[in-house]
């Protein structure tokens, strides 16, 4: 059986009396791509934020690679990276300067060598000297992924990485993620509102609704569980009926 990379137990987060994440538990195994699915406000992003230790849970436990996140924050965060369509990077720096900063921040050995590899892997040679403020959304997503791939993380968290992209750029982004996952065998937790993307990308799906896990399994298992035609139909049923 594959090694457990993420073990979440009874994780709960409340904001001003509202429960955003309600005693969720799940495991993610090495090399898996897990889709975290749910309507707006289901608790997907809050879960990712707790896995990154930028939101503190009210209760519950997060173990990454067998170690408690709250006790081994720095060691664990060195093995995790993330990309999100909601965040950016310093606009006044070039693409390469931004990558250099993050390479230092994560204390990478052979920094320049790894930067060259990532620039090559993501086909960013023409962007390396461009100022970040001049990048298009697609290019910005690529830079965000480059920052995430740079550290060769054991666990990669991708929060709606294709949200602001046109279909062509979104398809290229998915291809990059798949290529990277095949090459390095890392574990990926992925959120998206695009059902086709979820089906295409995920080995398993964890379905959240109002902060609780309402279903978990492969796409086919979830479709069967709800007796629906496809994942989008499941999503609409869950979102509208609660």
């Amino acid at each position: 059986m594959a090694k457990t990379i993420v073990r979440v137990r009874e994780l709960t987060k409340r904001f001003n009396g509202l429960t955003a994440v309600d005693r969720i538990s799940f495991d993610i195994y090495e090399g898996e791509i897990i889709g975290l699915l749910g309507p707006n406000g289901a608790g997907k992003t809050t879960t990712i934020h707790m896995l990154l230790d930028i939101v503190t849970p009210n209760s519950g436990q997060i173990l990454i690679d067998g170690r408690n996140l709250s006790q081994y924050r720095e060691e664990i965060l060195r093995q995790i990276n993330f990309a999100s369509s909601h965040i950016a990077m310093p606009y006044s720096l070039t693409v390469e300067e931004n990558l250099q900063i993050f390479a230092r921040l994560y204390e990478l050995p052979h920094r320049q060598e790894r930067i060259e590899q990532v620039i090559d892997e993501l086909d960013m040679a023409s962007l390396r000297a461009k100022l970040t403020r001049t990048l298009s959304s697609g290019q910005m997503t690529r830079l965000s992924l480059a920052k995430a791939f740079l550290t060769q993380p054991k666990l990669l968290l991708l929060d709606e990485p294709t949200a602001s992209l046109d279909p062509d750029s979104a398809d290229k982004t998915r291809a990059l993620v798949r290529k990277y996952q095949r090459h390095f065998g890392c574990t990926i937790l992925y959120t998206s509102h695009n059902m086709r993307e979820m089906e295409e990308m995920s080995d398993r799906i964890i379905f959240l609704q109002r902060g609780k896990v309402v279903a978990s399994g492969t796409t086919q298992e979830i479709i069967s569980q709800f007796g629906r035609r496809d994942l989008e139909d499941v999503f609409l049923t869950v979102a509208r009926t609660g």
Binding site: F15, V55, E74, L77, I80, I87, M89, P90, L105, K147
Partner: protein, 239 residues
């Protein structure tokens, strides 16, 4: 802020300057040295504070804060980095100010002699303290508190006695001023210019107070960082 804060501060500071100047019927001795020296030293404090707060705001503006705090970077390391940025800004400002004061007004800041080094260090540390306090407030309350990056330091200006001695202030404000490290620095600066004394007592007060305040400010920053993580504010501010 434009309606009450700045006019009130201007009135207070200039009011005390006027009271001070009125004491000298035959002209103030070393007037250029007092005012230009004070202005340059005050700017050091201001830039030291800005170095910390604006660095933090730049991370918010570029939506990079989450990238930083979701990395192995510790909050203390982040603060240390902003302090280094602050030092480089202070260095640049100091060079420009000293040259301009010398070229335009024949004022040589180095008349302050060996005291200049502890003066500058104490002003930088007080700037850091105000910078850390302000940054923590912005972290807690978000961009609505952004204006404090430029305004907070001036709350301390009237009681820092930049352009007039502590004795000009009314009684209760004199007590407050005694607790402000910068007030001891500016008091010391006037003593050096007037009497050429090394202001050991003032510097000891400034250094002691700064040590306590810096320690407290760093603790405060870590506390607010914990609150921001707990309330999910870090994500809202930085994303």
């Amino acid at each position: 802020m434009e309606i009450f804060y700045w006019p009130l501060l201007d009135l207070i500071v200039w009011g005390f300057i006027t009271v001070y100047l009125a004491q000298f019927k035959n002209g103030l001795p070393s007037v250029v040295a007092f005012f230009i020296g004070a202005l340059i030293l005050w700017d050091i404090l201001f830039r030291a504070q800005q170095g910390i707060t604006i660095s933090f705001l730049e991370e918010i503006w570029s939506r990079n804060l989450m990238n930083l705090f979701a990395s192995p970077l510790k909050p203390g390391e982040f603060l240390a980095a902003t302090m280094i940025i602050s030092l480089s800004k202070v260095g640049a400002v100091l060079i420009v100010s000293v040259l301009v004061a010398w070229a335009f007004y024949s004022f040589n800041l180095f008349i302050l002699g060996i005291s200049l080094i502890p003066f500058i260090l104490n002003l930088i540390i007080m700037g850091w303290v105000i910078g850390i306090l302000t940054t923590a407030i912005i972290m807690r309350y978000g961009q609505e508190a952004e204006v404090l990056a430029w305004g907070m330091v001036f709350i301390f200006q009237p009681v820092s006695c930049v352009f007039y001695p502590i004795s000009v202030l009314p009684g209760f404000l004199q007590t407050v001023a005694q607790l402000i490290p910068a007030a001891h620095v500016f008091e010391g600066m006037r003593d050096v210019i007037t009497n050429s004394n090394f202001p050991l007592t003032e510097l000891m007060w400034a250094s002691g107070l700064n040590a306590i305040y810096l320690f407290a400010a760093i603790l405060w920053f870590h506390y607010v960082y914990g609150v921001a993580k707990d309330k999910g504010i870090l994500v809202r501010v930085g994303g």
